[in-house]
């Protein structure tokens, strides 16, 4: 699996991520939370080889990530970023088949095989997009489109899923749908996921580990119950929070206390 060892990333003189380590385990979901500018997205890009760390290293199955060909990384690591740029009309199916790119034999136009179609059809059904497969991406609603982006990531068959705010701009039900699908992939296969989110309650409910970051540094790492404490959250977000147990699931439930009303 994927492992980051004391990774440091700089943008010019500014340190974006400082000596962060993270080891992913199969069947586990890790949530990264922290205020804006904490270096969460930068860490995610470094995990995917999109940035070179100035020190430390990223290992994929024990080998440095930089020694892999781009196409090979595409078969091991899938990224769900925020919305795709859709200036040209593409159908949902064509979009999802993009996830099979890294599996194509090079050259010769790279036509999809029957297996590619089968995989695409499977993930489209998992994400409940099968009926929409012939529709254009820009005709979809926000929730459907985000599911299509996730479907494309699932279509890569990658063992590592990196998701950068996959639930931003989605309503309550769709947030849960996306994370349930990711959770399902981790549970059923030898897969691991990293999810950046601003929703601490979603992190508490869906993740096995939480990485709490501030100013590019790791503040805490561990199971949600150990990391999502009033003290740590107050230190990182500089707001007072109330943490109690969710009455149904028992996971930590975080409620900010702004003190506007008494």
């Amino acid at each position: 699996m994927l492992e980051a060892r004391e990774v440091t990333i700089k943008y010019g003189p500014r340190v974006a991520v400082a000596e962060v380590s993270l080891k992913l385990q199969a069947h586990e979901m890790t949530a990264i939370i922290g205020p804006n500018g904490a270096g969460k997205s930068t860490l995610l890009r470094v995990l995917n080889g999109g940035h070179r760390p100035v020190s430390g290293e990223i290992l994929l199955d024990g080998r440095p990530l930089s020694t892999y060909a781009r196409r090979t990384i595409g078969r091991h690591i899938a990224v769900v970023a925020q919305e795709a740029d859709l200036r040209f009309p593409v159908t949902v199916l064509e979009f999802v088949l993009g996830g099979r790119y890294a599996w194509a034999s090079t050259g010769a136009w790279g036509w999809e095989t029957q297996q590619d179609i089968q995989v695409a059809d499977d993930v489209l059904r998992q994400t409940e997009l099968a009926e929409l497969s012939g529709r254009l991406m820009n005709e979809l609603s926000g929730g459907e489109r985000q599911r299509a982006v996730l479907a494309r990531a699932l279509a890569t068959d990658a063992a590592v899923l990196l998701l950068d705010e996959p639930t931003a701009n989605l309503d309550l039900a769709h947030q849960a749908t996306i994370l349930t699908l990711v959770r399902g992939r981790c549970d059923r296969r030898e897969a691991a996921a990293v999810v950046i989110t601003h929703d601490v309650n979603l992190a508490a409910e869906f993740s096995d580990h939480v990485l709490l970051m501030k100013d590019g540094r790791t503040v805490a790492f561990g199971p949600p119950a150990e990391v999502l404490t009033p003290e740590l959250l107050r230190e990182v977000f500089e707001v007072r929070v109330l943490v109690d147990a969710h009455p149904i699931t028992g996971v930590p439930r975080i409620t900010p206390v702004h003190g506007v009303r008494r």
Partner: protein
């Protein structure tokens, strides 16, 4: 979207898949049909011209590839095989080159308005060609070589200018194209002053796209580059499909973005360079043709690039036939005809956003 009716829905969806998706078979059929249409068009347009040539005899003569005179006089035969056909074949090569290059620029730069002429890339090639004519007039190969270098240089400059801190917006790209175009236009004027007055008129004509002044070696080069360049671009079509959705997405999915970009820039610059070296700047072909192809066949580049290439050939052959017959015996530059069709379409695309 319940699970109970999933099997039925799935069948419908699968049906939809096979209709909507571009496959190798579908692409092959479309390309073969278009190639046959191109062949028919080449034979047909060779019959048009200020000199009347017996239709039946010339069709036979063309189909026998010039081996039999089929009752044509030697003058008629010369007009057909030494003037008309080379010009028609050059028109096809130029159209194929510009349309394939345009389709690829559009995918790579994620902008349906990207076009070799509008981005100043044709002008870059024109400056290269003119410099070759002024300084290395004796060497025939210096023209396509410098045209290619000029096109590549202009491409890289436009790409750099268009990429601001916030990425490349469509507006920024077009503005970068305008800047490069105007700068190179003044360079063209400057080089023109180095020429003697008698050549200036023919150069103004050539700048607007003129297919009449070709040589056998330039014609075969243009044809070879058109085919090879289109093949290289088509081979990168699936990578371009992902690049159309953004460089970061493409990178994440396993595309070696830097390598693909370089290959596409070089292949497209070769296409633009060879067509400008042989016929000047024929504008708007790379805009009109890929747009119509996408409209009718979808935006999968594995279809768009080869189909646009053949349709580009069809388009310029028709445009040039109009250019050389509409006010016969005088001729218009073919670029005037393509711009007449292309400029309104550009405005339409711009307004539609």
């Amino acid at each position: 979207m319940t699970h109970a009716d999933a099997p039925l829905d799935r069948k419908i969806a699968f049906h939809g898949i096979d209709v909507a998706r571009v496959t190798f078979r579908k692409t092959l059929i479309v390309c073969v049909v278009l190639l046959v249409a191109l062949l028919v068009l080449v034979v047909l347009t060779s019959l048009f011209g200020s000199e009347r040539i017996p239709i039946k005899a010339s069709v036979y003569a063309v189909l026998s590839l010039g081996r039999h005179s089929c009752g044509l006089t030697s003058d008629q035969s010369a007009i057909l095989f030494e003037i008309r056909l080379p010009r028609i074949i050059l028109a096809a090569a130029v159209g194929a080159s510009l349309a394939a290059a345009g389709a690829s620029y559009q995918a790579l730069l994620r902008n349906p308005l990207a076009e070799p002429y509008l981005l100043g890339i044709s002008n870059g090639a024109a400056v290269g060609t003119m410099l070759a004519l002024v300084f290395f007039g004796a060497s025939i190969w210096s023209r396509p070589l410098l045209a290619f270098s000029g096109a590549l240089l202009a491409t890289l400059v436009v790409y750099r200018l268009a990429h601001g801190r916030a990425g490349a917006t469509p507006e920024r790209l077009i503005l970068a194209g305008v800047i490069v175009t105007t700068f190179l236009s003044s360079a063209i004027v400057f080089v023109t002053t180095l020429m003697d007055a008698t050549r200036i008129r023919s150069f103004t004509f050539w700048l607007l796209g003129d297919l009449s002044g070709t040589t056998t070696s330039l014609l075969s080069l243009a044809l070879l580059v058109a085919i090879a360049g289109t093949a290289v671009l088509a081979a990168n079509a699936r990578s371009l499909n992902l690049l159309m959705l953004g460089e970061r997405d493409a990178f994440d999915l396993g595309v070696e973005v830097g390598r693909v970009r370089l290959v596409v820039f070089i292949a497209a610059s070769l296409l633009v360079g060879s067509s400008v070296a042989s016929s000047g700047s024929v504008g708007y072909v790379g805009l009109v043709v890929p747009h119509l192809v996408r409209l009718s066949l979808g935006s999968d580049n594995r279809m768009t690039i080869p189909a646009a290439s053949i349709c580009g050939a069809l388009f310029v052959v028709i445009a040039d036939t109009i250019a050389r017959t509409i006010i016969a015996p005088r001729e218009l530059p073919v670029g005037a005809i393509t711009a007449l069709i292309g400029a309104p379409l550009f405005i339409y695309l711009l307004k539609r956003g």
